[in-house]
């Protein structure tokens, strides 16, 4: 059996989405900017897709949803353009973000620091979320932008975006949210929540890889990241990724149908899996079920190192992920785990399981079984649960 429980990393393309995309690879492959029929035949589908995105995010027609290649591009664009438009040669010189953002935000901010920008990286509390009073205390008249993720990728914790947007409005500071883990998983209503910029990516909600977007409130001015032709109204150059855009629109519409559907069992299955895991001794799940996206569990299994755990699960065909430092190429400790702080051991014993609406009951039952035997095996090996004579002074 193969079970995919790493949907916060990427997702399967919904076959219905793929079916909509296919003709635009092999039949209507023209460049939408061309004058001939090969090009113009794509327009109806592209406009439909854009409409699906506007509906999906509940964006106003006055707003822009500019298609990019991925959320990394969207995040780079907003941060670098805030530097060009609001910091360079201006009086403002400060960006506020968090310690638990995606590397595309953190690394871009680190780069901006080398250009003289002051960046504040807000800590999260033990639950793994930002406390709004901490944000408030860091906003000054030099602050050009606040950039805070909607949902954390590791924990699935939903940040208080509405309150944060209100604080930013009151302080007259621009607000950007990296909503990669939120869009397609929870309702997003950009008419209700006042956000200036929002990044998202199709492959996190059963769309294709290589396409994402940046929402820009009221079509406000922003220096482009990619200069070139007149694509996307001149905001983002590069030949339009026609099948990608069509796929993203369709995928967002389907995701929303899915989480609005009474038949959706993603949360039920996630909760079943979580309850089964919690039956084990010495386990700890980050955050309350209702404060998280309905698909994510980040669990710490005492005495079981994360990479060893995903090795054992992988042997059984189960894909999961770990926040463990050991599994990363550079052995860097995980920022979310460090930020949560309370349980230092969590940094090395964390297992992230992220479901999708394609996950089945059978898959969850199978996972529970295999996960239990992996924990049993690895705890039998673990020094954390080992014998010592009474004269031995443990140093572990």
């Amino acid at each position: 059996m193969r079970v995919y429980l790493d949907n916060n990393a990427t997702t399967i393309i919904d076959p219905k989405v793929f079916a909509k995309m296919k003709p635009y690879f092999i039949q209507e492959y023209g460049n939408p900017n061309s004058l001939h029929d090969f090009g113009t035949k794509t327009h109806v589908a592209l406009k439909k897709a854009m409409n699906q995105l506007y509906i999906g995010l509940n964006a106003d027609d006055k707003d822009d949803i500019v298609i990019t290649s991925c959320a990394t591009e969207s995040n780079n664009w907003i941060l670098k353009s805030i530097y060009y438009d609001h910091i360079l040669n201006c009086k403002k010189n400060h960006i506020i973000t968090t310690k638990v953002e995606h590397p595309s935000v953190i690394s871009t901010c680190k780069f901006l620091e080398t250009l003289g920008v002051e960046v504040t990286y807000l800590p999260v509390n033990k639950k793994g979320i930002i406390e709004t009073h901490v944000l408030e205390s860091h906003i000054t008249d030099k602050t050009a932008l606040v950039s805070i993720m909607w949902v954390n990728n590791q924990t699935g914790m939903i940040f208080p975006i509405k309150e944060i947007s209100q604080i930013c409005k009151k302080a007259n500071v621009l607000f950007h949210s990296d909503a990669v883990q939120a869009v397609g998983k929870i309702p997003i209503n950009l008419k209700e929540i006042d956000i200036d910029f929002l990044s998202f990516s199709a492959h996190k909600f059963h769309g294709p890889k290589g396409v994402g977007g940046l929402f820009i409130k009221n079509s406000q001015a922003l220096t482009p990241l990619l200069h070139g032709g007149e694509h996307m109204g001149g905001r983002r150059s590069g030949t339009l990724n026609v099948p990608g855009i069509i796929g993203m629109g369709e995928a967002l519409e389907l995701s929303i149908e899915n989480f609005n559907s009474k038949n959706s069992n993603i949360k039920k299955l996630r909760d079943t899996l979580e309850d089964e895991i919690l039956k084990l001794d010495d386990v700890f799940v980050v955050g309350d079920k209702n404060e998280r996206t309905p698909n994510t569990i980040l669990v710490s299994l005492k005495g079981v190192e994360g990479e060893a755990m995903i090795w054992d699960l992988n042997k059984n065909g189960i894909a999961a992920s770990t926040g463990s430092a050991c599994a990363s190429e550079f052995l860097e400790s995980n920022s979310v785990m460090d930020a949560i702080g309370a349980e230092k051991n969590l940094a090395h014993t964390a297992l992230r399981l992220s479901l999708s609406h394609f996950t089945t009951k059978e898959e969850i039952d199978y996972t529970v079984k295999k996960l239990n035997s992996a924990v049993k095996r690895l705890r039998a090996i673990s020094s954390t649960y080992s014998y010592a004579p009474n004269w031995h002074e443990s140093k572990l």
């Binding site: 994360g306 463990s324 014993t349 090996i381 004579p389 572990l396």
Partner: protein
């Protein structure tokens, strides 16, 4: 960076078959109890290294025959990734039937080598070399406990890079001998910093006492001071002819020029009721060394001061110090 780095290999694909097998079925995993060793007339040694909060921890059990100091049985328990488990297991195997003194000589490099499928291919990717270090450290901890000595007594030099076991002395020596200027050069000469990278600069996997960036900076500074003091010594020993005036520091140039002026120029000027002072020495963009002077006393206003006198001052300095000297009266 090049073709092979652009789409990196998964770390798991780089584990040897032996490592993978040991991860799945460690052979020496387990415990030795006090009861068992007492029955066999052996001494139980238990040693710990690492901590769960660091990501790696191992507990090592030895059953030692005290008459011969021989390790009769070895078991381990390990918290860590698969390579940590495999390294601990291999370390346990290597200890078996060795004397305690022999066991202490086993290093992490031996452990890694024993896990290779073939002698030329590393058993683990570079960043995982670190896992074998703990296997080495816990042997020392066990031996220290058995002998009742301090763990540091087994290490007689300061090891900066534990993965590749490169000492502080070696690193300083290669920097000096090969005139190295970057950490990358140190790594390519010694392999220090090629594995888990913790020893390169603060902020890596573990905190270190010595970092390559600091060692490089301090050694370069030492080298610069040494060079300056060598130059100064040479001057005192009147060996300045062996050294190039052009390489002197500004202060050294000034002193050398002053010496020549005092000895060969000033007496000549004083006889005519004049003198000069040096205002500045500068390396000019066209490659010459410009010495700015001001005439004093009778010299100032003397017709010859910008022709014959100037010419002879310049030639004396050129002859004694450097052909590049140009004298500019202000």
């Amino acid at each position: 960076m090049a073709k092979n780095d652009l789409i990196g290999d998964s770390i798991w694909e780089q584990y040897s078959k032996k490592v993978q097998d040991l991860m799945n079925n460690p052979e020496n995993m387990g415990e030795i109890t006090e009861e068992e060793t007492q029955k066999k007339g052996l001494k139980l040694v238990v040693a710990d290294f690492g901590a769960e909060s660091c990501g790696d921890a191992v507990r090592l059990y030895w059953a030692v025959d005290e008459k011969t100091d021989t390790i009769k049985d070895v078991k381990f328990k390990s918290f860590g990734c698969g390579t940590a488990i495999a390294s601990s297991d291999t370390m346990a195997k290597l200890c078996k039937n060795k004397t305690v003194d022999e066991a202490v000589k086993i290093t992490n490099i031996d452990v890694e080598f024993a896990m290779r499928d073939n002698p030329d291919t590393p058993a683990v990717p570079p960043q995982k070399m670190h896992c074998s270090v703990m296997a080495y450290d816990v042997i020392k901890a066990a031996a220290a406990s058995y002998k009742g000595v301090d763990i540091d007594s087994f290490e007689n030099e300061i090891i900066v890079c534990e993965c590749a076991r490169v000492s502080l002395g070696t690193i300083k020596e290669v920097i000096k001998i090969n005139d190295l200027n970057t950490v990358e050069e140190i790594t390519s000469y010694t392999k220090a910093g090629a594995f888990c990278k913790s020893c390169i600069k603060p902020g890596g996997h573990e905190e270190k006492k010595y970092y390559l960036v600091d060692i490089l900076r301090d050694t370069r500074k030492e080298m610069k001071i040494k060079k300056m003091s060598d130059l100064a010594d040479a001057r005192i020993l009147k060996k300045s002819s062996e050294l190039s005036f052009d390489d002197f520091t500004v202060v050294q140039k000034l002193k050398a020029v002053e010496d020549v002026i005092d000895k060969d120029i000033r007496p000549m000027l004083i006889m005519d009721g004049g003198n000069l002072e040096i205002l500045d020495i500068k390396d000019s963009d066209d490659g010459s060394i410009d010495i700015y002077i001001r005439y004093l006393g009778a010299c100032s206003g003397c017709a010859s001061s910008s022709t014959g006198t100037l010419f002879s001052i310049e030639s004396i300095l050129q002859e004694n110090c450097s052909k590049k000297i140009r004298v500019l009266p202000i």
